[in-house]
């Protein structure tokens, strides 16, 4: 059995760990509120953008010559996967879930004989993926220095993707991120952004006759690259809310576990202290008896 001193030391160390996890939980909770707010504030933009693109792609006259970002290259050979993860750990299954989702998709692609290219956003994803798919990773982007998710970061990622698309380095692009449902649940998502999947509106629902200036093609050409950045921005916002949520619940669990451990150790400590006292008493009594 561990000595009293050892037990005491362990209790203090667990207690200080608990303090840390508790503090992290508080910080995550505060950040979560902010992240959630900005995710909500960012929604109108992407929704409006989506609407406009829907209207445009339905109004487009010449489907054959539609911009390639919308209609695709006509092939599906080379897949680009953008895996968005966090830069920091200690957030439970948050990163692991995205990676798991992405890996199963990678395996499916490779089994079908497709070519795979990966861009990782956030260093955690890169750390985990480079062991197995090191050769497939063509770029790693990390925003460790920016404090909050901002649009310019998303635009940077968007520009990288579009540049590669224009050089015909890939045919299909999919992004992986966690969608924020609530604090406990985050759903890993795979979303295809190139070619863009638009829902087809039935003819009678599409009643608006828009005036386009300049024509549809040119607007689409200008709009689609922006939409890529917007989608990525949306994914990043969802991701950062999810990250804080996951971290909060992970740290909550850790705090609770530490509390249980402190209780257990305290009982053990008290017991062995009692045992020591009893032992001393017995020694005194039996010493007195023998006189």
């Amino acid at each position: 059995m561990a000595s009293l001193d050892d037990l005491k030391k362990r209790i203090t160390s667990v207690k200080s760990t608990q303090k840390i996890t508790k503090a992290m939980k508080m910080v995550a909770a505060a950040k979560l509120k902010k992240a959630q707010e900005s995710a909500e504030k960012g929604r109108p933009y992407s929704e409006k953008m989506n609407n406009i693109i829907l209207n445009l792609s339905n109004g487009i006259s010449d489907k054959e010559n539609a911009p390639k970002l919308l209609s695709g290259t006509g092939k599906e050979q080379i897949h680009l996967c953008v895996v968005i993860t966090s830069d920091r750990g200690l957030c439970g299954g948050f990163n692991a879930n995205i990676i798991k989702k992405a890996k199963s998709y990678f395996i499916k692609l490779l089994n079908e004989g497709k070519e795979l290219k990966i861009i990782t956003v956030g260093s955690k994803g890169n750390d985990q993926l480079k062991r197995v798919y090191g050769e497939n990773i063509i770029e790693n982007i990390s925003f460790k220095n920016s404090k909050n998710t901002n649009y310019f970061d998303a635009e940077k990622v968007g520009k990288v993707i579009i540049e590669k698309f224009e050089k015909e380095e890939f045919d299909v692009c999919t992004i992986f991120y966690n969608q924020f449902k609530n604090v406990i649940t985050q759903i890993p998502q795979a979303q295809q952004i190139i070619p863009l999947k638009t829902e087809i509106i039935e003819e009678d629902k599409f009643e608006d006759n828009y005036e386009f200036e300049p024509d549809e093609d040119e607007i689409l050409g200008n709009l689609l690259p922006k939409n890529i950045s917007t989608q990525i921005f949306k994914a990043m916002l969802e991701n950062s809310a999810s990250e804080q949520g996951a971290r909060m619940s992970a740290m909550d669990n850790a705090t609770r576990n530490a509390g249980e451990m402190v209780d257990k150790l305290t009982i053990e400590y008290n017991r062995s202290r009692q045992a020591a006292i009893t032992k001393e008493l017995i020694e005194i009594i039996s010493g007195a008896e023998s006189l």
């Binding site: 409006k48 953008m49 609407n51 608006d208 006759n209 200036e213 607007i219 922006k226």
Partner: protein, 130 residues
């Protein structure tokens, strides 16, 4: 009054401005400036660098923007933009910064004609504000 319509300016990270009592908006559309009044036909267009002027009951407001998309539908004007500044509190240093970035981009050789046109526009507008 029947002469009013609604305007909404949205940034990627927040809603920038919302007004219900707008009588006229002048936007720097890609093919030239455009004035929008109530009951304009449904319209989609995009912006070049320039000044958005909003006339409403409460007066006149001017904004500088670098790019954006405009949609007008059912007397609802939505402007989606990632860079917009109110001229009222547009700081000198910020203007200088933007001007600097634009001028540096202008020096690059491999830019397309269209982006050169846009950058020239940007510089011109920024210089007038200045």
């Amino acid at each position: 009054m029947t002469e009013e319509f609604k305007i909404e300016i949205v940034n990627p990270d927040k809603s920038f401005l919302e007004k219900e009592d707008v009588t006229e908006v002048i936007i720097p559309a890609f093919e030239g400036e455009m004035g929008i009044l109530k009951n304009h036909i449904s319209l989609i267009s995009f912006l070049k660098p320039g000044i958005i002027t909003i006339y409403s009951k409460s007066g006149e407001e001017k904004f500088y923007t670098e790019d954006g998309i405009v949609e007008f539908k059912n007397n609802n004007l939505s402007i989606l933009t990632s860079s917009i500044y109110n001229l009222k509190n547009f700081e000198q240093s910020k203007i200088q910064d933007l001007l600097k970035i634009a001028e540096e981009e202008n020096k690059k050789l491999e830019i397309s004609d269209q982006s050169k046109y846009l950058i020239d526009q940007k510089i011109e507008v920024l210089k007038t504000i200045n």
